[in-house]
Symmetry: D2
Subunit: 295 residues, 4 copies
């Protein structure tokens, strides 16, 4: 483990062991004590963190060539920096649509070709990671797999960005510990994503914990992205929560956009139309400017 | 009950009964179906709601004449519209400081005299309400008493503003139902205050549920105020959450300010210094402007 | 406060102050360090605690003379020691049935006259307590009022048993602190009642926290009663949870029984019929015997 | 999927499709509508479910030959039917002891050889399942992996029992849906295990949701086992909760036992000594007898 860290940080093994042993938090390489300055993750010249703000947008599921390419073009025009879209879908029921899988990845590549937008997509197993990592720009590890330690370690072996979502009932400490599984394997390109925690409230799907932003910023150098779409589960609440996230100091947003929300194969209820997304981006820019972020 | 509503709304008894019977939500007079336009609560020319933004600030507990007057003067200069300060304190332990009670109210009056700031203070019992309502500008009903129905009804009998805090584990629906106890007695000057809900997360005292803002705005016409101080329990997270609340569309903020946080008799850890509060207000103003609010 | 304790415990003021100052838990008189042996609460020769097991049964709401008297007779035959029935009802909506109030209390007195069963009923305000305490054998303070400190103190001034229900989102520590408000006023006849806590689970109304039994037994000498009816909200789960409570070491049960559950004015869904209650009691007796309890 | 079901149930494909389409719950093969009679899982003549009660006991982690063999012998004498012990350990921190892995499995085999007790052990990845399934009698899927769908499907391909633990914040519905991923692949030997859910309570590690027993029994035919050791996190509460589980109708218990809890490499605080486990078993037998179970 230490030798991986060594390669990644240009510190001697001895230095790293001593440094880690002095850190009193349970997370080590994710902590401010390990790295004081904010981390920045960059893909194809597009950055998140340390003052750089980025919006990741796209549909819940990749459904067809025209769907993903059309959405990609429209969010690109509106100012999104990354394209999201699910090819391998984690579904509560084995009888629900499980995603287009490899075919979905190909469609994402086509959308990238058409727009230049790097691809963020979820991977649910080590096997998929091994087969398809080369086709993905940012590996997303979903909330249900936040403590799938084998998957975290495999992602840690890669040298490409990982977007790690907070588990539905994970404390922030456990969230940072999960990122430590990736970091300690030598992969330092980790983006944290808060997507709502499970509470008793019923008017929203989950409760978006925006206080995670200043808390993580205090304890860690890793960039923090907010997903208001999955958190609220309702497109009517997305704009409000997206703007709140920017004001609170988030480094980015992850927003579901669909060109035909009513006919989406999954999560249509929480998707913005391209038009609504465009309006949102204008407001996001204004608030990001106040907080001193570079879009 | 209906006759009280009648007096308050200039509608005939028959009209009100018919209107309420058609509303499908469990809350009636709190609903958008009962009143489409946003409500505004005004005290001494200072308004909250329907585009008017207001900050309520002050110490957790009133401690002394100089403490409360000094803080009042400083927050007044920074732009707060109301002074908060606890005279009757709800404390988990019977052995903890329970507030200065009547003497605390007198000190609040002195601070009002010195600054013109209307007073917001918590009342924990019907008896206190009967004895002291005249000395208070905005009656605060605390989270622990959100379903103290006798107290809600007594507050409903008054014709002065009530700031109702969400219970620590109350759903938004229950929160609106609690307001209905006040409204249905004929008192329409109700301000709702979200102050964090109880979850499993340990790095913050409670989890501030900012999604309550767009949810309440959708279902209700009542103004919504956010208390990031009690929610986070940590002054280092207050600014971030305050700005998020403004961006999300809140009508106001409730912020703890103490001139000597380290020696505060209660909740010092979450109090801003007057200097930090002044800085916060500048940022609040910028974001409120973007959201189209009048400070 | 100390003088009240003094009267109640035959210890000198000095002894009590010293004893309390040495207790490291935040709750003092509720703690095992204050009183090592289990407390027992006795009404008309019927005891709960320190090896004595008691079942409190009856309808959610008192509805009519025949309803409450019939139910009382039937639960008496089945072995219940106390009659429960709501006269003052805490309801989420102001438009729901609020109880028969004073008339309900009179009907409870009639049922007591017919059976000898002491009465357990909820009181929601200090005023009601002052007016009606004499007509009630065991004052119930409901979950919503667990931190209504004025009500707790007023109940502490009485010299009759108080059954205190755990708040829906109260920690066990806060629950014991609430009992401390009653104990520290000199009333030592406190029974604690666990009735389910609020969680994310949807198949039951609340989640019955049976681990509260051994936890409270470890920290406190107060008797613990379990209410599986309100916790589960479903009569089909009541027997299972009632038997579990006995096996876990509870000192008593609080069970809703209605002679016509389908037409009950409140909470019919969770009420047992008299026949089902009679069957339950036979099983309760068998398990209570194994745990060494006296019925 | 259907053909796997077909093989497992001796129904025609057409019959199965029709049957499933008529089931209104989101879970199908796990439901009572699919199979009315309680399922029973049997290993080496030892059964769980449909009236058969079984205790699974052993240490959190396998640590050494003498440790696991000694514990196995002692729990065997006390009446346990299965031996549990962790070889692959899911740990929040990458820096904590991760288990003896393959070596741990070998030690478990040695303990089985010495006692005849079938082995229950956790598998955290598809790879481990492929390599080691033959050496394990009951595959445990842990709480963190309850929605690791690839692992569930792989376990569904096997024809050996799977003990599936409820996720820390999974609803009972999601728990049954997770079992559906195993069942729908054709593996019908599924045992459900409730091990505590995450709540705000702090005196116990998690809140044991015993009401899951009658709820699951109502909706499903699958056997239910309770793990009071992980739920409470404290050996002082284990007996009380174990007995409650039996009284509530559980089909089995999973209990941590260690011959030297204070020196255990993980979770020593919650482990019973062999002596305490022996005492517990005597009480378990008495209550199981009352509930009509065969030990």
């Amino acid at each position: 483990m230490v030798s991986a860290i060594q390669r990644a940080t240009d510190r001697s093994e001895q230095e790293i062991i001593e440094l880690i042993s002095r850190i009193k938090e349970p997370f080590k390489m994710a902590s401010r004590a390990f790295k004081g300055v904010d981390s920045v993750v960059t893909v194809d010249g597009r950055s998140i963190g340390n003052g750089h703000f980025a919006v990741i947008a796209g549909p819940c599921s990749v459904e067809s060539h025209s769907q993903i390419v059309d959405i990609a073009k429209s969010i690109d025009v509106s100012g999104a920096k990354f394209l999201r879209g699910g090819a391998f879908k984690p579904r509560t029921s084995p009888y629900d649509f499980q995603g287009l899988k490899s075919e979905g990845l190909e469609l994402l590549r086509a959308a990238k070709k058409a727009t230049g937008l790097p691809i963020v997509t979820e991977v649910m197993s080590v096997r998929t990671l091994e087969e398809h990592a080369d086709d993905i720009d940012v590996i997303q590890i979903g909330a249900r797999n936040m403590q799938n330690f084998d998957l975290l370690k495999a992602a840690g072996q890669l040298r490409k960005p990982v977007l790690l979502k907070r588990g539905m009932s994970a404390t922030i400490e456990e969230f940072l510990m999960a990122s430590e599984y990736i970091l300690s394997e030598g992969n330092h390109q980790v983006i944290l994503c808060e997507r709502g925690i499970r509470t008793f409230e019923k008017y929203t799907r989950n409760t978006l914990d925006l206080s995670a932003i200043p808390v993580i910023k205090r304890y860690s150098h890793l960039p923090v992205v907010i997903d208001p779409s999955h958190a609220t589960g309702d497109s009517r609440y997305v704009e409000s929560m997206a703007l709140a996230a920017v004001a609170a100091g988030a480094d980015g947003l992850m927003i579901e956009v669909h060109n035909n929300p009513e006919k989406a194969l999954s999560d249509g209820k929480q998707s913005l139309t391209p038009g609504a997304f465009n309006e949102l981006m204008k407001k996001v820019e204004k608030i990001a400017e106040i907080t001193g972020k570079i879009l």
